[in-house]
């Protein structure tokens, strides 16, 4: 019997040398005449341990990491194929505290299976959701998603089941399922990990969505910065089609569903759903006014379900294990689990899927291990470039949609970017405005012009030009953008700006007195 070794081909592993490690291992075992099967997986999400090499043993998978190509000889000398001792040995991968503390529902297979193998996918519970959805029928499937309490994981948090129900109730011979994989928020990579590590779960989720709502075609809009995700999805779609899991008779049923990948072209705003639809139609990615909702008039004017990768990838387990099973995780109106992404200046960067309700401090200090630089944490930005900066004083905030809203923040797509005490918060506020100016689609004035004026205002405030007065103007501008913009780009850019100003006034040369006057 040959030994089996798992090495990730997730781009997060490739970026620290996983390909070189895999190649060195392949050469070394060939030279030594060893029978070894090398399986390329997604990533477990413990990126500080990548490249992680895992070996199948009767006790489970033993990990070694982070491995460099020149560690391979010594690993083989230590009997790595039997899980032998070595300074890089981490023990059972699933017993590593960062991993053990998680509740992996959406990410159950990521890092475990070969993402290109339909057999491996099925062997780990894949396509059970689709099987159940076919047995339940469309209407009951939609109600399962409604009852699970699943809310859009892209950032807006709108109930996924309600979107589905709206589309299911429309009468139209052509409806579409669109997967928003334009994951542009800095600090997020969960969509990428799903697409690279378990693409079939996304295909299954989209197929279920199609059957449930009467849509026969799907598009996955992936950002161009994700070439490895594009490749993984295209291979998986081909395999699913070859196996009859996509096509005119999905899994031998009477339902037709097929899909394709479309690649974005470097526009952040296309992560906004209506802008994404415009882009898919081949136009400038300008935001549409709502209503009409995409559920009524979406892609090419047809009823369209548009959901984030994580929302769709959570559907198979909701259907297979039942709405109640999923709903029992979480708190308040935030049900189920959230794949949280720890990023920036952080010791243990990676993906941590857990039930809603965990505190921000536990995530940053306990699980993330604080900063990589070893300096004190000064601020964390939660929810991407449009999310608020929180100081450690707010670390008791529970990871929950409403709890963050109550503190003038948002959880967005679940990214947490950690900054140490060398950060200049006025610079971060300026960057938020600058980023909005670069990425604005230009459709509405508060965003297009407001962001450019915002950059100038922050510059003036920092330079102490009419500081008190300009602080007032900046706050007024933020209000205009917040309430006058069509979409979240202009509407939420005030979150990082105002939170930086509120929690770190000293970086703007402002005193709390200035801010009191500004309020």
């Amino acid at each position: 019997m040959s030994a089996r070794i798992y090495i990730s081909r997730d781009s997060g592993a490739l970026c620290v040398g996983a390909e070189e490690v895999a190649r060195a291992l392949f050469k070394a075992v060939e030279r030594r005449g060893l029978a070894v099967e090398i399986v390329r997986t997604g990533s477990r999400g413990m990126y500080w341990l990548e490249p992680l090499v895992e070996v199948a043993t009767p006790q489970g998978r033993i990990g070694y990491g982070p491995v460099k190509a020149n560690d391979i000889e010594s690993l083989l000398d230590s009997g790595v194929l039997e899980g032998g001792e070595h300074p890089l040995r981490l023990g059972l991968v699933e017993d590593i505290p960062f991993f053990k503390r998680q509740t992996r529902l959406t990410f159950a297979r990521v890092g475990v299976i070969d993402p290109r193998s339909l057999e491996d996918y099925r062997a780990h519970g894949g396509y059970k959701g689709l099987e159940k959805a076919l047995a339940l029928g469309p209407q009951a499937t939609v109600e399962e998603v409604v009852n699970s309490g699943l809310r859009g994981r892209g950032g807006a948090g709108f109930p996924t089941g309600i979107k589905w129900r709206t589309v299911a109730q429309t009468v139209n011979p052509q409806k579409y399922i669109v997967c928003n994989a334009d994951e542009g928020d800095s600090g997020t990579f969960a969509d990428r990990m799903i697409m690279e590590g378990d693409p079939l779960v996304l295909i299954e989720g989209m197929t279920i969505a199609g059957i449930a709502t009467g849509a026969t075609y799907g598009y996955i809009y992936i950002r161009s910065e994700y070439p490895h995700a594009v490749e993984a999805m295209e291979i998986a779609i081909r395999r699913a089609r070859e196996a009859g899991m996509l096509g005119p008779r999905v899994a031998g049923s009477a339902y037709a569903f097929d899909m394709e990948v479309r690649v974005g072209a470097g526009a952040y705003v296309c992560g906004e759903e209506t802008s994404l639809l415009e882009s898919l139609e081949g136009k400038r990615g300008e935001v549409r006014a709502k209503p009409p909702l995409p559920a009524h008039i979406g892609l090419f004017g047809k009823p369209t379900v548009i959901n984030n990768v994580l929302s769709l990838a959570s559907v198979p387990i909701i259907i297979s294990d039942g709405a109640a099973y999923y709903r029992d995780f979480g708190m308040g109106r935030s049900r189920g689990t959230m794949p949280i992404q720890l990023a920036g200046n952080i010791k243990y960067g990676g993906l941590f899927e857990t039930a809603f309700g965990i505190s921000l401090g536990e995530l940053v200090d306990d699980i993330g291990g604080g900063t990589r630089s070893g300096r004190p944490v000064r601020a964390v930005q939660v929810g991407g470039p449009l999310g608020a900066y929180f100081p450690p004083a707010l670390f008791d905030t529970a990871f929950d949609y409403e709890a963050f809203t109550a503190r003038d923040g948002l959880i967005g797509h679940g990214g947490i970017v950690v900054f140490d005490d060398s950060v200049d918060m006025a610079k971060q506020a300026r960057f938020a405005m600058e980023f909005c100016a670069i990425e604005s689609c230009g459709k509405c004035t508060p965003c297009r012009i407001g962001s450019a004026r915002g950059v100038e205002l922050v510059d003036k405030i920092v330079a102490n030009e009419d500081r008190a007065e300009n602080l007032l103007v900046l706050e007024d501008l933020c209000n205009t953008m917040k309430f006058g913009s069509l979409c979240a780009l202009g509407g939420f850019t005030p979150y990082p700006v105002m939170s930086a100003l509120t929690h770190f006034p000293e970086d703007f040369g402002a005193t709390p007195k200035h801010l009191a006057a500004a309020e």
Binding site: C15, V16, Y47, S186, F189, A265, A343, G344, G349, P385
Partner: protein, 158 residues
């Protein structure tokens, strides 16, 4: 390393014809053109507009909306440094300045010998291992520090 073909209208029409039947064909066509020629030249915009029955103005508006599409082919290698928040938090600003200084170009510029185009990118989804970079279409690098950046610059210039 990508090799681009010189501009050739006949080759461009073949590329356009292969994609024009697709729903919302503009982006797939533009990507395919840029893949072949390294850019979407002005002459191509008119051809795509014709094929899709759109005005040149509309097509120009679409092409220029997206950061990815270039007017001119880039240098032999394209190095994208992530400039978004996560990489800023992990020392990316200093690395970007170092890259600009060592290559003698600003972000968006191409070295005088046309070997390297340096570009800012806003997130590569490698934020767990910031600072991150991408060379050409798909070679990714994370946990960059001065030494690793220098090695990367050397590789790009080779």
């Amino acid at each position: 390393m990508p090799r681009y073909e010189p501009w050739d209208p006949e080759r461009a029409s073949v590329i356009i014809a292969a994609n024009r039947h697709r729903a919302g064909a503009a982006l797939p066509i533009l990507h395919a053109l840029q893949h072949a020629f390294g850019c979407v030249p002005e002459a191509a915009i008119a051809m795509v507009a014709d094929a899709l029955n759109l005005s040149r103005a509309e097509m120009h508006g679409t092409v220029t909306f997206y950061h990815d599409f270039r007017k001119e082919p880039p240098g032999r290698r394209v190095l994208k440094l992530c400039r978004a928040e996560s990489c800023q938090a992990a020392g990316g600003d200093a690395l970007a300045a170092r890259a600009e200084e060592k290559l003698g170009v600003e972000m968006g510029g191409t070295t005088a010998d046309a070997r390297v185009t340096l570009e800012a990118v806003y997130c590569l989804g490698l934020c767990h291992s910031s600072p991150a970079a991408m060379l050409d279409h798909d070679r990714v690098y994370g946990m960059l520090d001065e030494a690793k950046l220098d090695a990367l610059l050397k590789e790009a210039q080779a």
